[in-house]
Point group: C2
Chain length 63, copies 2
Amino acid sequence: MKSSLRDLRAKAELSQADLAELLGVSRQTINAIETEKYSPSLELAIRIARYFESNVEEVFHVD
Amino acid sequence: MKSSLRDLRAKAELSQADLAELLGVSRQTINAIETEKYSPSLELAIRIARYFESNVEEVFHVD
DNA sequence: TTCATATGTAAAGCTTGCTTTACATCATCG
DNA sequence: CGATGATGTAAAGCAAGCTTTACATATGAA
């Protein structure tokens, strides 16, 4: 599962830790998603997309 | 996590077993999502939304 | 150089998503 | 009536998502 999370986060000038706190997850979770260690849960994917005023399919896409 | 999966599936006149096979998951997985036993993975949520020519946020929504 | 910030990664442990197998109920059809 | 299909549910087991703690490395500021 690829995503544009890193780009969106960079544009927003947020660190992984910043975003993690804003979303209520651990920094490692954000890092794992960005480095493609695993996919977020549906709940978290929706929260992420919503935070960046986007939608799930735009932020995340199957390889 | 609520969803309009049951409605969409009914409109398409598919049984849980039919849809499961089309999506490559078990019937119990479809049933569990419809009865809110658990949320689908992000991958599966995207596949479901795509199958019904919709998008994740339209098919699934946080309680 | 020293310190702080940002990122990557690892291990252990808990929870959740999904599987297979199995059984129960209900409706419909012959 | 008996058979079939659709749905609900349960248990056991494996895989994946997420946590906390911890350490390593790089970069930039003082």
